[in-house]
C-alpha cells in the first residue's frame, strides 16, 4: 500500500502564480522527500526534510512538515512554464528504514 498520498492529483495554474501540493502519510517517518519528474524522464530530487524539521527552503521551493498531522506541503512560488511536471513525495518510514515509498504524484501544468 502507498505510504504517501499527494493532493491534488492535478493542478493547473498561470505562470507567476504559486502552486501548493500536499502529501499525507500513514506511519512515523525518518524523513520525507519531494521529487520532480518531467514527462518521459527519471525523477529529480528537490528537497529532503527530516522528521525533526518543520520547514525548509530551496530557491523558489518551500517545504513544510507537520508530523502531528502526518502531512507535508510543497510550495512553488512564482511558477514558470518549466515547472510543468509531476511532483512526488517519498517517505522513509521508521519501520522500513532505507526504503522510500512514493505516492502517485501531483501533475502540475503551468500555462504561459
Amino acid at each position: 500500500s502507498q505510504q504517501g498520498e499527494e493532493d491534488p492529483q492535478a493542478l493547473s495554474i498561470q505562470e507567476g502564480e504559486n502552486a501548493t501540493m500536499n502529501c499525507s502519510y500513514k506511519t512515523s517517518i525518518n524523513n520525507l522527500q519531494w521529487y520532480r519528474q518531467n514527462s518521459g524522464r527519471g525523477l529529480v530530487h528537490l528537497i529532503l526534510i527530516r522528521s525533526n524539521e518543520r520547514e525548509k527552503h530551496s530557491g523558489r521551493l518551500r517545504v513544510t512538515l507537520d508530523t502531528s498531522k502526518k502531512s507535508s506541503s510543497l510550495l512553488i512560488t512564482a511558477s514558470r512554464a518549466a515547472d510543468t511536471a509531476s511532483y512526488f513525495c517519498a517517505t522513509d518510514a521508521l519501520s522500513n528504514a532505507g526504503k522510500s515509498t512514493f505516492g502517485d504524484g501531483t501533475t502540475l501544468t503551468v500555462k504561459p
Binding site: Q33, G42, L48, F88, K99, F102, D104
Partner: protein, 112 residues
C-alpha cells in the same frame, strides 16, 4: 547528473521469456533500488540492495529477482515475463538510504 546508467533503455519481449535489466553506477553508493512505474502512478519498490550480495524485497517483488555481485552493478531479472510486467523500470542509488536518491533515465519494457 549522477553517474547512473540503465540498459537497455527500451525492450520488447515475449511472454514467458526471461529478461535482465542492468543498472550501473559510478558513484560508489551503497544503496541501489529497482522501481516500476505504471501510467498515472508513482513508483513502487521491487527490490533494493544495501551492499554487495545484500538485497531485500520491496512491495512488488513477486516474479522478480535481483543480484549485486559488485558495488557498481545491480541486475533485475524477470524470471518469466508476463504482460502485467509491462512498465517503465527505474533504478536509483543512494549514499546511505537516508539521503537523496538519484535516478536513472528508465527502461521501458513491453511484454507481448
Amino acid at each position: 547528473d549522477a553517474g547512473i546508467t540503465q540498459s537497455p533503455r527500451h525492450k520488447v519481449t515475449e511472454t514467458g521469456t526471461p529478461v535482465t535489466l542492468r543498472c550501473h553506477q559510478t558513484e560508489n553508493h551503497r544503496y541501489m533500488y529497482w522501481y516500476r512505474q505504471d501510467p498515472g502512478h508513482g513508483l513502487r519498490l521491487i527490490h533494493y540492495s544495501y551492499g554487495v550480495k545484500d538485497t531485500d524485497k520491496g512491495e512488488v517483488s513477486d516474479g522478480y529477482s535481483v543480484s549485486r555481485s559488485k558495488t557498481e552493478d545491480f541486475l533485475l531479472t524477470l524470471e518469466s515475463a508476463t504482460s502485467s510486467q509491462t512498465s517503465v523500470y527505474f533504478c536509483a542509488i543512494s549514499e546511505s538510504g537516508y539521503t537523496e536518491a538519484f535516478f536513472g533515465q528508465g527502461t521501458r519494457l513491453t511484454v507481448v
